[in-house]
Symmetry: C2
Subunit: 137 residues, 2 copies
Amino acid sequence: MSVGHTEVTTAPVVSCGEQHEDCGIREVLDRIGDKWSVLIVVELARGVHRFRQLQRAVPGISQRMLTLTVRRLERDGLVTRTVHPTVPPQVEYELTAMGHSLTHLVRALADWSAEHRDAIAQARQEWDAEHPDSGIR
Amino acid sequence: MSVGHTEVTTAPVVSCGEQHEDCGIREVLDRIGDKWSVLIVVELARGVHRFRQLQRAVPGISQRMLTLTVRRLERDGLVTRTVHPTVPPQVEYELTAMGHSLTHLVRALADWSAEHRDAIAQARQEWDAEHPDSGIR
DNA sequence: CAGTATCCTTAATGATACTG
DNA sequence: CAGTATCATTAAGGATACTG
């Protein structure tokens, strides 16, 4: 079924409570809206990973960005970092319960994307055709 | 119920189909992961808006970013732009059906955020306390 | 009103080299 | 292995001025 937007004007679909105020949405997006966070979360959802293992599993990520991203996830309580004092060092990353709960959201994102990617691609093509030199893109 | 990650290693929660490949997740995030898109979508979910009206409803956005963001949303088929050839000009923005379907996702984001914002804030505090001069933040 | 056009600042990411 | 440190590059966003 489609969404059906009859009388949308008086029935806010999103309901932030207040009028023109940010819901907490930006907070989530500031956290997972970056280039790598969700990819790492998705990979960690598959199980515990060591640093290099994670890097291999997320193709294209630099050592630097992996460190930064995983640190931020740790800081936010989404990931745990366990150092085994061996030589060579071994560090394991694992999702926390809260991290796992995020995967539900990620799933929703993936589902929406899968459902609409074709329609979006088509809309883009048409728009681009009608707006040749627009700077947008 | 909680997430329960027994034997996660062999049971991917997110299921991208392929192993270490991006699901379509990045495509959604590239679209709504920016600073303004969701806020505009949320506002448009309340009903049709004119340009200035939209700008007033989304405090802090510059004219430039409003134009850019709304153009991209239009290009992706999430928003329609209707020009009424009057003087002064009047332009109306409205969510498409696909745009409205996005609001479900936004709702999920808002819900997750509301549920976990306290836990995240606390995790941050603790982490910051334990890692005084870490560069992260 | 609804934009464009420019210029400028900052944040995000990448590349590379080095270390316990 | 698992990082850190530095430098370079790019992209995102903001400020301001101008226009049909």
